[in-house]
Amino acid sequence: MSVSTLDVAAELESLQSRFKPISVEKDVPVHMDLGLLTLSDPAAISAETVAAEPDFLKNLARDNAQLLMNAILSLPTERNDFALVASLPAITTRLPREKTLPSGPALTRWEKFAKEKGIQKRKKSKMVFDEAKEEYLPRFGYKRANDDTKDWLIEVPKNADPYQDQFAAREAAKKERVSKNKKNQKRNQASAAITAQGAPVGIMPQAAGKATARVKGALSSTAKVAVDAQALAQARKQRAQLKDRLRETLSTTQISTASMGRFDKALKRDKPVVDRVAKKKSQVTGREAEERLQALKILKQVARKRGVNAELVNARKAAHLDSVAQAEERRGQPRMAPGAKRKLAAAKARARK
């Protein structure tokens, strides 16, 4: 037994000399996020130390890994059928947001201008004193204070046409203001729609890279610049598309009249945008040789269709000749085939030789 005891002690000693101790001493405490199984060592490393000790980084990594393992094994564990499982705590590291912050509703033109100029909204009281009625009345709406629509008399302003209907003028001015406001509202809505559609989600790696080159700063700020540039480009593209569509619609409406737009009075600034399929214009000069070839080709087609070239044997002519020959035969005068006379003469000449 004593032999075996000794053996165990020796074995342990040899093992301990082969493996490094599991306890690690650190001068600067490390940050650990066990939820992410991460350890970061904030201790500074000098180049001299690394140069002097070749295994320094390796040892450092081993020590830190050991620390991480220790920490993980100190967590509550449980053994299931396959392995020892440690339950990890929640993540403590604060990670950057994946997506851009949602932007608020788009600013109207006035809001934008006011923001630039630093104009702030002032609270106005709801009730206003009406001097004629000598009481407080609402500023706007039904039974409002100083209601100028209820005037029974309007002083003709200086330099105004005395015969102008001031009541009508007031009403017209009001209508004008309302329509102008409506127009502006529509414009704001349209631009808001474009920016809402246009802003892309997330950071494009390429754009972010470009932005970094231009703007030196923290990652978050470069990313924001990149996103802004992206959104701007997108908005521009959409604007161009909108313009194209508008032009297309205009060109359609320009010819959507009974005379296909031919006899319509053009507006002063209404340029004809009709750009239908351009009529293929034939070149007047410079293609003469090609033209001739084409003409001959067509001639051949037409001739084939007509059977003009098939005139080598003209059926009508052949029939006519045949009937003539037959008639002559009947009369007892055998008709000589064309060329036969010549052949006969040649044969006679040969015979004479």
Partner: protein, 180 residues
């Protein structure tokens, strides 16, 4: 002014083929000087390429006619030959009819050709083939369409129509202002 499109060329050649057959190729490919067909305001003109190149200096509105007018395209896209094309038709005609001096004036006033006026005619003219009309001195007078084949014509009575009138040189006087 522009060259004829393929379709126009086809229609034009089909009409021309009635009179000169595949001799059209001699018009297209001239050994003396390259010529071409051009369309000006629905009329087809035949001219040397030199003339065509010169005419490109003219404003479109100012260009009335150039070269030889062969005829015009109707609004329905058919082609109608004019008497101005007679010189070329006579030169390359496939089928000819010669008329006697007593029939000349009748034809030149725009009448059809009666058999009695025919001096001689080409053999084997098919029915409704285009024929060019000459007087007995071989001066081209006009052109028309054969009303009968040559064969059938032999058996016709003298007053029967031998060829339908289409155009004659009398038009130079009769419709002076509409000819181009």
């Amino acid at each position: 002014m522009r060259p004829l499109t393929d379709e126009e060329t086809r229609v034009f050649f089909e009409k021309l083929m009635n009179y000169i057959g595949d001799n059209i190729s001699f018009l297209v490919e001239r050994p003396d000087e390259p010529h071409c067909f051009r369309l000006v305001k629905d009329r087809v003109y035949y001219m040397s390429e030199k003339v065509m190149l010169w005419s490109t200096n003219m404003a479109r509105d100012n260009l009335l006619a150039l070269g030889t007018c062969f005829g015009k395209f109707t609004k329905t896209g058919k082609f109608r030959l004019h008497v101005t094309a007679l010189d070329y038709l006579a030169q390359y005609a496939k089928f000819k009819v010669w008329i006697k001096p007593n029939g000349e004036m009748s034809f030149l006033y725009g009448n059809h050709i009666a058999k009695a006026h025919v001096g001689r005619l080409t053999d084997d003219i098919p029915m409704y083939a285009g024929v060019v009309v000459f007087n007995m001195a071989d001066v081209p007078l006009g052109f028309g369409v054969a009303a009968q084949t040559t064969e059938a014509a032999r058996k016709l009575d003298p007053t029967a129509i031998m060829a339908f009138h289409q155009a004659d040189v009398g038009e130079y006087l009769r419709s002076e202002d509409t000819l181009a």
